[in-house]
Symmetry: C2
Subunit: 429 residues, 2 copies
Amino acid sequence: MNIYKGHIIYTPTPQAFSTIENGYIAVDDKGLVIEVSKERPASYPDIPVTDFGDALLIPAMNDMHVHAPQYRNMGIAMDKELLPWLNQYTFPEESRFKDIDYAYAIYTRFIHDLWLNGTMRSVVFATSDLRSTLLLCRLFEKVGLGAAVGLVAMDRNCPKELQVPYEQFATDMAKLVEDSKEFSTVFPILTPRFIPSCSPELLKTISRFVEQMHLPVQSHLSENRAEVAWVKELEPESSCYGDAYNHYGLFGQTPTLMAHCCYTEGEELELMRRNRVMAVHCPMSNCNLGSGIAPIRTLLQNEVDVSLGSDVAGGHSLNIFRVMQYAIQMSKLRYAQSEGTVPFLTLSEAFYMATKAGGAYLFGSGSFEKGYAFDALVIDDKSLNYSDPKKGVMPYSLPQRLERFIYSGDEHTIVHRFCGGKEIYEPKL
Amino acid sequence: MNIYKGHIIYTPTPQAFSTIENGYIAVDDKGLVIEVSKERPASYPDIPVTDFGDALLIPAMNDMHVHAPQYRNMGIAMDKELLPWLNQYTFPEESRFKDIDYAYAIYTRFIHDLWLNGTMRSVVFATSDLRSTLLLCRLFEKVGLGAAVGLVAMDRNCPKELQVPYEQFATDMAKLVEDSKEFSTVFPILTPRFIPSCSPELLKTISRFVEQMHLPVQSHLSENRAEVAWVKELEPESSCYGDAYNHYGLFGQTPTLMAHCCYTEGEELELMRRNRVMAVHCPMSNCNLGSGIAPIRTLLQNEVDVSLGSDVAGGHSLNIFRVMQYAIQMSKLRYAQSEGTVPFLTLSEAFYMATKAGGAYLFGSGSFEKGYAFDALVIDDKSLNYSDPKKGVMPYSLPQRLERFIYSGDEHTIVHRFCGGKEIYEPKL
């Protein structure tokens, strides 16, 4: 076991930060938190303390929606909204991942960048190609980062070379599940791309994996107006976009993550609540693709849980701290547009979304409460915490230090990263 | 004179980038651009070429609205909208700048950070304290960065210690103007904080400086709904907020910058157009303070020029590239909310706002056209421009490299900075 010491800040609930100045966290040999405390835990006098001095010790980030094969498109191609953007930029790039060398070149850099940004667990769309998807799993596993990896199911309304017929998908998915048994930090997640790219037969095939293997599910939901209208055409019998997934048993029958939810309301909202479907808010992407402002306060008020995703390459950065900024900022625009009637997100609410919300739902991580996997970041914010008492410049308070790191810091101030109790050093892939 | 070589990208007009691969810029001894060309300029065979190799060579950033004394509040205190935020966080911090040691400690770090982020010219609010405002001017001058610096005029609706009666303001302002005669890169700008904090007598006093000395003017305009309503109460005879400034001869009688304009429309819009008042768009701040989305497309369509400002500490970063991102992103939210009827900003429009719009209006900089001051950044984006042809990973195109730097790069990829033809090295203050 290990004992770590630092200025501990985390969010057991969205309402407030728990802060322990010079506190201790005891972690067992399985990498789970035993105890978090103000005093050195008395039960383990022989265990030396790893002391991080004046640094902040916070839960690591979880990116609950990200497209690994779009990594090379990050920060470019921002001139279209969703549907033309997929056709013009996304699908051609994803087609290249049948070339395993290309996949290796991009996926290694993607994983390095996740590491750099302090994201210890992620929920990933790979491509419809099995071989490179298995490669991605193995790379995560080798580095020791947690991931739910999706072999993307798609058999219509996209380039031929990305389409996989449902029989083939069933074979590929079974192989992925089989091979995943050797993994410790990585597991598969069922990933219908979205209703428009999945035939009813394919959705039924995926549904059988839910029933028989109880795998979790991820997809996209109500991201963009044109997309919502298209789904209505494709699935006229469904009362809403979410109901189309539900119709096929892919909407909360197992843990289910639905990215975006910009236009979720009414029956869809109620269905998410009832089925415990988690919304993944991707505000950076929603800005870049002109999708709109997701009604996050409304989702929360209706007891739908919300986590955060970078949605690279819709988002232009893997930095989840920056995604937190956007989540708060977009909620403030909604606040302004509602003339102050819809309260904006607080910093602790956004931090909870980036840590415990998604972590607890899928990975058993995201908090420092007893029993959680010790996923943590050590933040050396000296450069941000300038003080000079002789000149009257006093240090920032702990909550201010965290806020300042989130808004004005960057990944270079992260000096240690832990996933499941293990320190994760810079990947050399 | 000097000749520089690199991949040149700039925006003579908002509509498109001008790009010259491996191009040349000749700069005269006054620091002005003589010529930009594809071939080595033939007229100066004896002048050696400074070759930046594969780097990008772009105009430097202009921050047309920033509060130097709020630098320490950057990235904290994001839980209020404008008026309570001023009272609770801003005014108490500004009050500290009567302590010259404190001012020195903060202003030196502020200037270093401007430098780091590639901002070579800025339009700055200091405080109402003359001594520390002069210090700020001298620090800019010493480093060689361009700045229009404002001694902030305020005599009501703020803490006593920040108020300066109009007679005293006249004396202080005259002293600032006098002392500024020794400066080469720095000049004073008249700076009524905003209508609520300026009595009619004070506004009349400022107006006399406009008439007699033809100094430029900066202030805040229509940032926030409660502020707009308050101004209506304070100046019932004015038809709009902008008309209140105009009433006192502070709205385009000389070059005038008005920050925010979130709620500018109708008569105010028309007055800005007619008087050639420049809007300074501060989208990062407008998000953080819940002010709203400024109607930038409408301003542009009505021939009001728009530049960009960080508005630190309303904004949480001095990085104007990041402000460009927000300008585009907020215009995309407006696009979404207008169901696609209001076109979003293009990258070249945002780049123009960050460079030529403000630069040409106030500093004679911001472009590489003949006669412009050579304000430039050299961007070594190797880390962003990953390629490996053996694995099928090809380099990005030049426009993609610029876009990727703007969205996903950071200040550490800026390797040279020029202001007015002089290379500006890291300030050691």
